[in-house]
């Protein structure tokens, strides 16, 4: 009831202010030019959004388990990137360290999230993107901590390039090196300079052998990718990164692809499924990949293709050369979104989000035989307010769901164990 009163009062305020602005605008109608648009460019910002920089106001939170078992959590809230640690599986967090403040320039799009990882020595590495100019070119910044997360180096740009780099995705390899991949727009920028009409971006990648201090010269895995979807990444049993992303195939078809990155070389682009999604739009809905103990690739993705539409799962036992027939995730007709995968040994966990008109819920299904058969979906958690994507991660043999919700807080739930 109290909430109702408050939200009503806010709406009332917004409407009143809006009417106020409008009448000023109407008065100025005779000279409707920059001055009036300026006057109306400052509509009272409704205050129903969370205002702080803490986790309670975050739009995206990314977890990572440090080698000592501590949970590292990086989040973005109102333009600020922060990190905090937890020794009790997320129940309580130690004081947060603010890494950077970019205000409205921080890339807080629905598929963007800060990236965090730590090496065997406990050195922490972070990457995030922000918009560096008025043409919405983004820059990826990285920062490190060598004192267990007490302090971080001042953020530095990952690459020196005037165009746009966005959607970093980070993996720590068994040899302690850091693999980073991102959407890079320099080739599109060059093409445009040459008068060529070109949309999309490219999948670029690099590695660091010194904890993220320096990176090798970046390379391209695929020159044609969607420019606004996160990249999925996982390590195969040999420790090679495998990326999954929305590629652009001939005729402007934006379907999923996977690619193995072997020692400074990208293997051929493998198409996950022929969904035939011809679009120039920004889906903000990238895929997820997990590789099981047998080396099988498990991929889940979203599409609105002419051949299938919704969220789907497929796997490949031959490094992506061929994929199984895609199977639908969740019930047809429901708003299934944001699939995420985790694999350990022969076990595979798949979570996704559904919205029923009043609450968002996270569902899980599990396979104990490397993706051949699956359990029936199980409801893990629900929330009425804003929520982030559901994410999966492991600590030792245990699998966890990480889910940030506005109304019910940050949740780290144990969802299973490697058998």
């Amino acid at each position: 009831m109290i909430l109702n009163i408050r939200s009503f009062a806010r709406l009332l305020l917004i409407n009143t202010l809006y009417i106020g602005v409008l009448s000023v605008a109407e008065l100025a109608q005779a000279q409707m030019d920059h001055s009036s648009s300026k006057a109306s460019s400052m509509p009272a910002k409704p205050s129903n959004t969370c205002q702080g920089f803490g986790l309670e106001c975050a739009t995206a939170a990314t977890p990572f388990f440090a080698p000592d078992g501590k949970l590292l959590l990086a989040w973005t809230a109102n333009g600020v990137v922060s990190v905090a640690q937890s020794v009790d599986l997320g129940k309580t967090l130690a004081a947060a360290v603010q890494i950077a403040e970019h205000g409205k320039s921080l890339d807080a799009g629905s598929d963007a999230r800060p990236q965090i990882t730590a090496d065997k020595q406990g050195n922490i590495f972070l990457a995030y993107a922000f918009f560096k100019d008025t043409n919405w070119n983004a820059q990826i910044n990285t920062t490190r901590s060598t004192d267990g997360g007490k302090s971080f180096t001042s953020p530095e740009t990952l690459v020196k390039d005037g165009s746009s780099q966005r959607f970093p995705s980070v993996l720590i390899k068994p040899d302690n090196s850091i693999f980073i991949t991102w959407i890079d727009k320099r080739l599109v920028a060059i093409a445009k300079q040459g008068g060529e009409k070109r949309l999309g971006g490219s999948i670029a990648y690099s590695s660091s052998q010194d904890g993220g201090k320096t990176f090798e010269t970046e390379r391209f895995a695929n020159e044609n990718s969607c420019e606004c979807c996160r990249i999925g990444g996982s390590l195969d049993p040999q420790g090679n990164p495998v990326v999954a992303y929305r590629a652009i195939f001939p005729r402007g078809i934006r379907d999923q692809a996977t690619q193995v990155i072997i020692a400074k070389r990208a293997e051929p682009i493998r198409r996950v499924a022929d969904d035939d999604w011809k679009t120039d739009a920004c889906p903000h809905h990238g895929p997820s990949i997990a590789i099981s103990g047998s080396g099988k690739f498990h991929v889940a993705w979203y599409t609105q293709g002419s051949k299938r539409s919704g969220v789907f799962y497929a796997n490949s036992a031959n490094q992506g050369v061929t994929y199984s027939k895609p199977s639908r995730v969740g019930a047809d007709g429901t708003s299934v979104a944001r699939p995420y995968l985790l694999a350990m040994g022969q076990q595979v966990w798949l979570v996704w989000k559904e919205f029923d008109g009043s609450k968002s819920s996270v569902y899980l299904k599990e396979s104990k035989d490397d993706g051949n058969t699956w359990s029936t979906p199980k409801l893990l958690a629900s929330t009425a307010g804003y929520s982030d994507h559901p994410l999966l991660l492991s600590r030792g043999n245990q699998a966890f769901l990480s889910w940030l919700t506005r109304d019910d807080g940050y949740q780290l739930l144990s969802v299973g164990q490697k058998q």
Binding site: I19, S37, S40, K45, G109, A281, F355, Y386
Partner: protein, 160 residues
């Protein structure tokens, strides 16, 4: 008590939306519950609601075409809703650049998530650009990607 508030609220929303189609350059906040008022405000005339984001390259490319379209079709009813979490200053800048400074424009106040989209179209995942066309009978058609402006001008002819 609750009913009274709801009544008051809907009265306010109506007045809000009633003036929403006036030719002003104001950029208004869009939040949950606004969809009905915006679509009702067309009074049975065909209406297009264009969802765009300043960080979406395809949208940025298309916006000047919307500017030209409205110049050529001044009576077409179009509402613009900007869905990225950016400053109003940046939204206005892009609208101005596209010649859309006087159009009926909104920006989302909270993240443009499944809760906000549900009342618009429960089957829509929020790709940008997306245009929803509501015909004079209230039937909505959603189109993701670039718009065919020739088709749009026919669809938006008020008395057809």
């Amino acid at each position: 008590m609750k009913q009274l508030w709801l009544a008051l609220l809907s009265a306010l929303s109506l007045s809000f939306a009633g003036s929403a189609l006036a030719d002003t350059s104001s950029l208004k906040p869009y939040q949950a519950g606004d969809w009905k008022a915006i679509t009702k405000a067309a009074n049975g005339e065909p209406l297009a609601i264009h969802f765009w984001g300043v960080t979406c390259p395809a949208c940025v490319k298309e916006m000047p075409q919307w500017g030209q379209f409205l110049k050529a079709n001044p009576n077409a009813k179009v509402v613009f809703i900007q869905v990225d979490d950016v400053s109003t200053e940046n939204i206005l800048k892009m609208l101005n650049k596209a010649g859309l400074e006087k159009v009926n424009s909104y920006y989302v106040v909270a993240p443009f998530d499944e809760r906000l989209r549900y009342e618009i179209d429960p089957k829509w995942y929020g790709e940008t650009p997306t245009t929803i066309l509501i015909d004079k009978n209230g039937k909505a058609t959603r189109k993701t990607g670039l718009v065919d402006f020739q088709k749009l001008s026919i669809a938006l002819k008020a008395k057809s």
